[in-house]
């Protein structure tokens, strides 16, 4: 870099030594000196692994009976175009990616920036994929029976019934709002059909202080936290009662009161934001974490890399939940990435991760609850990949039968339905009956229809809301424009729709 007299170098500055070495050595010393207190605190927390130790061990254990089901389901996750994959000449057969060798050299280690690393004279490429996919954690089988009594967090009757009710409510809500859009009453809607377990069970596993940054297919989390059907309807209609004041498209719900940040359309932007929220919670020493959701497609965004990498470096308490539902609009996951899903990416960032059967409410509950505890007590990010299937279309602007088989959709809707599966377990325990079912569904349906009718009739936002909230305090030019527009509307009422409110 050419440096002129009297000016500073304006490219990224070059050091005599590679930056990493200087930074690593001095910053470590620096941190050690200044923050001995906080370091000791963190390291003592790390020693107290508790539940996390058990879960880590599980990842490397031999396959369990659940594996047969998994292999069956893996067909549906992989595209028929597996012929695109190359056969590795040296396929890794052991669970660990790095193979131990008997060479003497390997006992010695080399010093590099980033720490000591052993060496080997055997040239071995880490294969692009492990011979065995990471298994997914599951508690209930397809018939709603508990597979193994170990390793899940028990759920009380009260909690289980509430979870089931909310899953069913979400189903009814999605159905009715979808129909309302089809009837032209709202302009847009997006369902979570097939992902009710992820929505509700994850919300149930969090504390109300945990800050949620959703993508857009998680209204169930807000539902769990107390957002009413009327409030959902108001946002979809953008009426005067909408907390979003008619500023956003339908399904872009948000509520500070419920610690649920307003849904934002650009994909994956919520991931680095969640790291920032986690950092803020960490600095303020709150007993809470940030929880953020992303789909399989969203993990292709640059923000996924930035968000996860950063959260790990900052040691921010964030739980990243990826809903791997197989489809990003019409893009199947085989066209989205070539890794074994998302869970394997965790290790690439130094983040603890788990793959979970996203259609198993109890598994999701246990995993999210454990992840949350880890994130808060150990002040670290955790990644959860919840395997599921997007039964509905991407949104009301999509017709998924155009790019996937109707049979496939039907299979997931009927045989792999998360709501039915959980229902069986709740019923088997004697906590739910058919009578309860029909009562819940009909009353929810009725409430929703009434909510829609009422929301439709509510007047829309007044003209003043056009200019509010651009800034904290309206700037002068906005004030002038508002005055001008009001005068114009009053002067030329025939140019504006009837009932237009100033």
């Amino acid at each position: 870099m050419h440096i002129r007299q009297g000016t500073t170098c304006t490219c990224r500055p070059s050091n005599p030594l590679p930056t990493n070495i200087v930074k690593d050595a001095t910053s470590f010393l620096h941190m050690a000196m200044l923050f001995a207190r906080s370091r000791n605190l963190v390291s003592s927390l790390r020693q107290n692994l508790g539940l996390s130790a058990i879960l880590i061990k599980r990842n490397h254990s031999s396959p369990r009976p659940v594996f047969t089901n998994y292999q069956l389901s893996s067909r549906v996750f992989l595209d028929p175009s597996t012929s695109f994959r190359h056969e590795s000449t040296a396929v890794e057969t052991q669970p660990d990616l790095v193979q131990q060798s008997d060479h003497e050299d390997d006992a010695q280690e080399l010093d590099f920036p980033g720490g000591k690393v052993g060496y080997t004279s055997e040239m071995k490429f880490i294969p692009e994929s492990s011979s065995r996919r990471i298994p997914c954690y599951r508690v209930l089988n397809e018939h709603g029976k508990i597979i193994s009594d170990r390793d899940f967090i028990p759920v009380s009757e009260k909690l289980a019934v509430r979870m089931y009710e909310q899953m069913a409510t979400l189903q009814v809500m999605d159905h009715i709002f979808y129909e309302a859009q089809r009837q032209g009453r709202i302009s847009f809607y997006l369902t979570s059909v097939g992902e009710e377990a992820i929505n509700i069970a994850s919300a149930a596993a969090l504390s109300p202080e945990d800050v949620v940054l959703p993508q857009y297919r998680e209204p169930g989390v807000l539902l769990w936290r107390g957002f009413t059907l009327e409030e959902f309807a108001n946002q979809c209609f953008g009426n005067k009662a909408d907390y979003g004041k008619g500023r956003q498209m339908p399904i872009h719900y948000g509520s500070n009161q419920h610690n649920y940040f307003t849904v934002s359309s650009p994909i994956a932007t919520q991931l680095p934001q969640a790291a920032g929220v986690g950092y803020a919670l960490k600095m303020e020493k709150k007993n809470a974490c940030a929880v953020t959701f992303i789909g399989d497609g969203g993990t292709s965004e640059g923000d996924f890399h930035a968000g996860l990498n950063f959260a790990a470096v900052m040691e921010a308490p964030v739980v990243f939940i990826c809903r791997n539902n197989g489809w990003a609009i019409s893009t199947h996951i085989s066209e989205q990435f070539r890794s074994d899903g998302i869970v394997v990416k965790g290790q690439a960032y130094g983040i603890r991760s788990i793959r979970v059967d996203g259609n198993d409410a109890l598994a999701v509950y246990s995993a999210v609850r454990s992840a949350r505890e880890m994130a808060v007590t150990e002040q670290r990010p955790v990644l959860i990949e919840a395997m599921t299937y997007r039964v509905g279309h991407h949104s009301t602007s999509d017709d998924s039968t155009k790019y996937r088989e109707a049979d496939e959709i039907q299979y997931w809707k009927m045989s792999r339905n998360p709501v039915n599966r959980f229902k069986k377990w709740v019923e088997d325990n004697g906590w739910w009956s058919e009578e309860d079912e029909s009562k819940l569904r009909s009353s929810t349906r009725k409430q929703l229809l009434q909510a829609i009718q009422a929301a439709e009739k509510w007047e829309k936002q007044p003209l003043t809301e056009l200019f509010n909230d651009v800034y904290d305090v309206k700037t002068k030019n906005l004030e002038e424009q508002e005055v001008g527009l009001k005068a114009l509307v009053e002067k030329q009422p025939q140019d504006y729709p009837t009932g237009f409110h100033i």
Partner: protein, 367 residues
């Protein structure tokens, strides 16, 4: 771990929005040149502004590449790491999109990040977060999510750094509702506007200039006070005149003042307006000045099409058309990506002579 938390002895009341507005009012009435025997570089002005705001409010923290250990790529954040610790002066990995998104998230959660871009050219890698996550959030969430964040860094041309390090982003960011865009010139501007930006609950884009960092300016006692703050949205008349109005911002203010000196020798009294605030633009001050002088020369370093000058021309034509005695003169950078070679670079940027010539043209003194 918290850094040193101490309220400055001078600062009696809190930094609430209302006290800020009160301060703004009293300062507006007292405005004149910064008369004082003390001098301060823009670099020190920015450093002291950040330091004081961090000291006063524990929620303020700095984030960016090389801001901590390296003391800042341009040494603007010098000494802050030692004083406040790595939690509040955060060295980020190389990901503008990442740390901008994180800054916005932290702001959502109630902290007040000051995010440094090594140059605003690199902010393009994060522009989605600046616009879609920061600028629009308060509006789209109907006031539930406000973003008290400051994005700062050098903007515009430096010297011999080529096209990818020399673009001016004033017009780009100033076109977005929801953002405030500031461009300081002097040390006093730097201090007052940065302090105002950090205290402001809205997202602020703070456009500095690398070549100004080392320049010294006289600074008043008032400006050195820790409660000093300049109002956002108010331009400053750097030099009064009656024949032609010259509006500009950042480094070009210095050039305009030199041009005004040269014009004075030839009997043309130029009024130089330092915009300070690109959004909101102080149309009132600009128009009042044009109504006084009847002639306008507007100057900027950035690309000519859709620039800040274009907006000023439109404003003046809309509001003060009948007062104009000559067509508006617009001086901007050349409509080419910035070349590297020194001679070409000089030709691609406005120079003092260009401003003088334009002013004379406006005054019908030459072709």
């Amino acid at each position: 771990m918290w850094g040193i938390l101490r309220r400055s002895a001078v600062d009696g009341g809190g930094f609430s929005a209302s006290s800020l507005r009160r301060t703004r009012f009293s300062l507006v009435s007292a405005r004149s040149y910064a008369a004082g025997s003390k001098e301060m570089t823009v670099r020190d002005a920015l450093n002291s502004a950040i330091d004081e705001e961090m000291s006063a409010d524990p929620k303020v923290f700095v984030m960016g590449e090389e801001v901590g250990q390296y003391q800042g790529a341009y040494k603007i954040t010098k000494g802050l790491l030692e004083k406040y610790g790595p939690e509040r002066v955060y060295d980020t990995p190389i990901t503008e999109a990442g740390f901008t998104g994180i800054g916005v998230g932290a702001a959502y959660a109630g902290l007040k990040p000051v995010v440094e871009f090594m140059t605003f050219n690199f902010s393009m890698q994060a522009i989605d977060h600046i616009i879609n996550s920061a600028a629009k959030s308060n509006y789209m969430s109907a006031g539930q999510i406000n973003v008290p964040i400051v994005f700062r860094g050098p903007n515009g041309a430096a010297a011999g750094v080529g096209a990818q390090h020399s673009q001016c982003y004033a017009a780009w960011y100033a076109s977005v509702p929801g953002l405030k865009v500031l461009a300081p010139y002097s040390a006093e501007d730097a201090r007052g506007l940065l302090k105002a930006a950090i205290r402001d609950p809205d997202p602020v884009v703070f456009l500095e200039n690398e070549l100004l960092y080392g320049e010294s300016f006289p600074i008043s006692e008032e400006a050195l006070d820790s409660s000093f703050c300049l109002p956002i949205g108010k331009a400053k008349i750097e030099r009064e005149g009656k024949d032609v109005t010259i509006t500009t911002f950042s480094k070009m203010v210095g050039f305009a003042l030199k041009a005004a000196e040269k014009l004075a020798e030839e009997g043309i009294s130029a009024e130089v307006i330092n915009l300070r605030s690109i959004r909101p633009l102080d149309r009132a001050t600009i128009n009042a000045s044009v109504r006084k002088t009847s002639r306008l020369v507007t100057v900027e370093e950035g690309f000519p099409q859709h620039g800040v000058c274009a907006e000023i021309c439109a404003s003046v034509v809309e509001e003060s058309f009948s007062y104009l005695d000559a067509p508006v003169e617009r001086i901007a950078g050349a409509d080419v990506p910035m070349p590297y070679a020194a001679n070409l670079e000089r030709l691609a940027l406005p120079q003092v002579e260009d401003i003088v010539r334009a002013a004379k043209r406006a005054c019908y003194r030459s072709k």
